[in-house]
Amino acid sequence: MSIDKNTVGKIARLARIKVSEEEKEVLSGQLSSILKMIEELNAVNTDGVEPLTSVVQMQMYEREDKVTDGAIPDKILTNAPEQTAGFFVVPKVVE
């Protein structure tokens, strides 16, 4: 499978990354060769093999339902470029 320039453009837009026309050309070649390498794995027969989700056999840890965090609005807002009355303030995002 190869990735053409249009597909590179679409992925870049979804990821909100600005990519120039020249870069698209380069990336289309690079992404295609990465996929080609991955496709070699298709040669291995994986019938009946469960997906490997962890290299150690363990259960997901589950925590108790207790309030142990939060109540730090000043810290949460520290990096906000703009704030008002405890809210993050961003450019209007509704039409």
Binding site: M60, R63, K66, I76, G86, V93, V94
Partner: protein, 485 residues
């Protein structure tokens, strides 16, 4: 429903409706962080670094969310999957600081199920459940505070949601309304969601398409975030009409996300989300698969409460209530509990009548919730008892009830203090009867001349003389005897 089809210029159309309901799991803390999940805190005061999408933070799942999702699954008569997987649903929005929502996609915790909905004509219809999965809520954006800016509060970010997806089994707006109502009753009975639609603990996305009866499914539109049963029905009615007019006018439906405008009852396109459906799901590398073993599921099954349908059946079978009355009583868990206390040791049918007609009527008028009722279930039961054992008549009982509702006093005291006990002393009633007959000699003559209708007048006069306290049955009998003399 027999009359489910919509008339168009080219013939009849059928609506096909499926619902995605987001129900917030009733917990103290969030799905993957220890911040409070309560509604209505000061902005950004219930946010942990995990919920704010800070780099390096790891999600840790809340046990309670897992058991409540399983509990809800059992309440929907659904299969529980022993293994489910959390995936990342990727999109950009200011109230989604992580840049993705942790959700379940290909392997949800709950699979196929089914619930029954009660329709206004008394029939019951089965609606399939496609799945239930756990996911994080996003934060909240306020767009109306500033002309050029949006304000973002992340308190809701990371709150635990169950997304409950129905099969496209509904054919009318009414059925969709009944489905949401039943789902809400079930999660409230189970204690897994408070069902509070005003506060957004339950929100619906509505999928609507139309087709000619017998045709394959049409293209659907999704109406996002509809937050009341009434709005769900309005949005469906409007959207189906819009689609029919568009198709009959030679147009084509494009699959899209639409918004419901509560002010004018219409839906409109959300064009900005064109790209948004490419969510690029992939398994969240921060989280192992979620496993629930059969012993865990069976332990939850053992604690399942009696659900609305089973309760309704019991009310009909053991108390002899009508299906309608039983339905009204079980529609809210608190209401059913209230009734059972009021009916304990008393005539259940009479108790049901008093709860439904008098109590709910009075609460409605006073704009009060049942939990704030000035009349306790025990007190209402006592009042029902006083009627059954002929201490007071039904008419006096209404007076007593009004005083109970106003003052919170118990009925026995009110009856005693105001001397409202029913007169069942034959001699006393005979005396009143005699007086009435004596004072209305002309009418008695008319009655004896064949004007039977006057009997009611005599009964009324005797009751009036007794201040409403004479036992009406005895008045009837004694009057009849007297007038036949």
């Amino acid at each position: 429903m027999s009359n489910a089809l919509l008339k168009g210029n080219t013939g009849d159309w059928e609506m096909v409706i499926g619902l995605e309901v987001h129900a917030q799991v009733l917990t103290k803390s969030k799905l993957f962080s220890g911040a409070s999940a309560d509604f209505g805190g000061a902005p950004n005061a219930q946010v942990s670094p995990v919920d704010a999408g800070m780099p390096g933070m790891l999600p840790v799942i809340n046990k309670e969310c897992v058991s409540k999702a399983v509990r809800t699954g059992l309440g929907l008569n659904a299969t529980i999957n022993n293994v489910s997987i959390f995936e990342r649903k990727n999109y950009f929005y200011p109230d989604l600081p992580q840049g993705y929502q942790i959700s379940q996609y290909q392997h949800p915790i709950v699979g196929n199920g089914e619930i029954e909905i009660d329709l206004p004509d008394g029939t019951v219809k089965k609606i399939g459940i496609e799945r239930l999965h756990l996911e994080q809520d996003a934060g909240k954006s306020l767009h109306d505070q500033h002309p050029q800016k949006s304000y973002v509060d992340l308190n809701r970010s990371g709150n635990p949601l169950m997304e409950i997806v129905s099969k496209p089994d509904m054919r009318t707006a009414e059925e969709a309304g009944a489905y949401v109502t039943k789902l809400r009753a079930i999660v409230r009975y189970l204690g897994t969601c408070d069902g509070n639609m005003d506060e957004g603990s339950m929100r619906c996305d509505v999928n609507v398409s139309v087709r000619k009866p017998g045709d394959p499914l049409g293209t659907r539109c999704e109406i996002k975030n509809v937050n009341s049963v009434r709005f769900v029905q309005q949005a469906i009615e409007y959207e189906a009409r819009r689609q029919i007019e568009l198709i009959e006018g030679g147009g084509k439906i494009t699959q899209e996300t639409r918004l419901f405008d509560t002010k004018n009852g219409t839906t409109r396109s959300m064009r900005s989300k064109e790209d948004a459906h490419d969510y690029r799901y992939f398994p969240d590398p921060d989280l192992l698969p979620l496993t629930v073993d059969n012993a865990f599921i069976e332990n939850i099954r053992k604690t399942m409460p009696e659900l609305p349908d089973a309760k309704k059946k019991r009310f009909v079978e053991t108390f002899g209530l009508s299906a309608y009355d039983a339905g009204v009583l079980v529609s809210e868990k608190e209401r059913a509990e209230y009734f059972e206390i009021a009916a304990k040791g008393h005539d259940p049918k009479l108790a049901a009548n008093w709860v439904i007609t008098e109590l709910l009527g009075a609460l409605n008028k006073a704009e009060k919730e049942l939990k704030d009722s000035p009349v306790s279930a025990e007190a209402l039961g006592e009042l029902v008892g006083l009627i059954s054992n002929n201490t007071i008549s039904g008419r006096i009982a209404k007076e007593v009830f009004a005083e109970m509702f106003g003052t919170g006093k118990n009925p026995g005291d009110i009856v005693k203090d105001r001397g409202l006990q029913q007169v069942t002393d034959t001699g006393a009633i005979e005396k009143l009867v005699a007086e009435v007959v004596r004072d209305n000699a002309d009418k008695v003559a008319e009655y004896k001349g064949g004007k039977d209708k006057l009997f009611g007048f005599f009964v009324g006069q005797v009751l009036k003389k007794s201040g409403g306290k004479a036992n009406p049955g005895m008045v009837n009998d004694l009057l009849k005897k007297k007038l036949e003399e």
